[in-house]
């Protein structure tokens, strides 16, 4: 049943929710932690906290599935959420914000500073978008078209994040903030690495809070994949150089020069940690 208020709706199923979204111009309210601090908060809200389909956490043989309205705390308490995701979530803001903020909201806000989105980039996760005409699955990299620009239709909602289980075990996560708690990332880095019988089977890195969109360059990471460790060491400087060219930082509160240099330092640290 939908609770109807003066300027908001509280549906209790995904079907009810999508029907409302198709008919009206509604602002989705997941955790509210980004929405409620905006200057202009006019319009009508569509509250997502009572929709069971958006709160599910499940798995199959190949993937983990996280409902978009799961809060950071719910994922931190879940046995299914992998360590790399928990590493990032545990450093978001402070308990009260982790208790309300959601992954769907973090992604949907469209910022390259979103700490959970960085993990979804490095793990090559995909988003399930549900709309009145059905659903579609979009790799997170394709979902972000630019700063605050998303591949999302007016009738659609981010309903689930699908994360491949492969390659999650060996990771690195670094967040540079001005303080320990309640820090917005000045820069963030995540990396995944795997080797088998002396050869690199997987290498993925992502940089957050640097550019308009989180940086994830599979084409550059392929420079190391398939190589032996000694060969990777020989290719290391070319790999770093490639990222040096690929990272074009935006100038903000933190200088572009600082951002770029720190990105490359974090990349070098990652390679050192992985024995390259």
């Amino acid at each position: 049943m939908v609770t109807i208020l003066a300027n908001g709706f509280v549906p209790e199923s995904l079907a009810e929710c999508l029907e409302l979204k198709a008919k009206r111009s509604l602002t989705p309210y997941a955790g509210g932690t980004d929405l409620m601090i905006e200057e202009d908060r006019g319009g009508q809200y569509l509250f997502l906290h009572k929709i069971p389909e958006l709160k599910r956490i499940r798995e199959d043989d190949d993937n983990l599935y996280f409902g978009a309205a799961c809060t950071f705390t719910e994922l931190l308490e879940s046995a299914l959420a992998p360590a790399i995701l928990k590493a990032a979530l545990s450093r978001i803001a402070a308990p009260a914000i982790r208790n309300t903020g959601t992954i769907g909201g973090n992604i949907g806000n469209g910022s390259a500073k979103a700490d959970s989105a960085l993990i979804f980039f490095v793990t090559d996760s995909a988003l399930k978008l549900s709309g009145s005409k059905g659903e579609r699955l979009v790799p997170i990299q394709d979902f972000y078209l630019g700063r605050k620009k998303l591949d999302l239709q007016p009738d659609e909602l981010i309903s689930e994040v699908r994360m491949p289980k492969k390659w999650l075990s060996k990771y690195d996560y670094q967040k540079i903030g001005a303080r320990k708690s309640l820090a917005i990332s000045r820069l963030s880095f995540a990396g995944l690495f795997a080797e088998e019988n002396g050869a690199i089977t997987h290498c993925a890195v992502a940089f957050g809070a640097v550019s308009d969109v989180i940086i994830r360059r599979k084409d550059l990471d392929s420079l190391l994949i398939g190589k032996t460790i000694p060969d990777a060491k020989a290719a290391k400087s070319a790999y770093i150089k490639a990222y040096e060219e690929a990272i074009v930082p935006i100038r903000g509160r933190v200088s572009a020069e600082y951002r770029k240099e720190t990105c490359l330092n974090l990349l070098k640290d990652f390679l050192n940690k992985m024995g390259i």
Binding site: V10, Y29, A93
Partner: protein
């Protein structure tokens, strides 16, 4: 047609028919006269407006009324009627942990959420638990100490 919603406010079923997008903070203070909920920053930075929503600490400045539909909200005014509050009150007083007092309603509710999750927290866990609650008098050490004392003296309450 505008309808209304119900929620449990400090244990009492409450009917609300105002704006769904209004801040819980403003409604608690202005409509229900629960002024123990303080407004410090209106952007989730300070924790002075902390309340407990369905057992978890939240910032009421970043919570819209629609989010509260069907949920339970506890403010310091409701919490002060509990035995757990008495243990925290005594512990805070024993080390003079209250200075100007502005952050204290939020700090006490954060203390409750630390202890309800973990009855015997380490100092680090206590500091993490209040990391979203700022004390501009900077009296953190006494507050951390007080929560540790409450855990010990109020053993069995949590």
């Amino acid at each position: 047609m505008a309808d209304s919603m119900t929620f449990i406010l400090n244990g009492k079923e409450t009917v609300y028919s105002g704006s769904a997008t209004a801040r819980l903070l403003d409604v608690l203070r202005n409509e229900y006269n629960l002024t123990g909920v303080k407004c410090g920053c209106k952007e989730g930075e300070c924790g002075a407006c902390s309340v407990i929503l369905d057992g978890r600490l939240v910032n009421s400045c970043m919570t819209a009324m629609g989010r509260v539909a069907g949920s339970g909200v506890v403010t310091i005014e409701g919490y002060r009627e509990t035995e757990r509050f008495k243990a925290l009150d005594k512990a805070y007083a024993s080390v003079s942990a209250v200075q100007c007092g502005f952050c204290i309603p939020g700090m006490v509710l954060a203390s409750e959420c630390i202890l309800s999750k973990n009855a015997h927290p380490t100092e680090e866990e206590i500091r993490e638990g209040i990391s979203g609650n700022l004390c501009r008098c900077t009296g953190y050490n006494a507050i951390v100490k007080a929560i540790g004392i409450a855990a010990k003296e109020g053993d069995g309450l949590w």
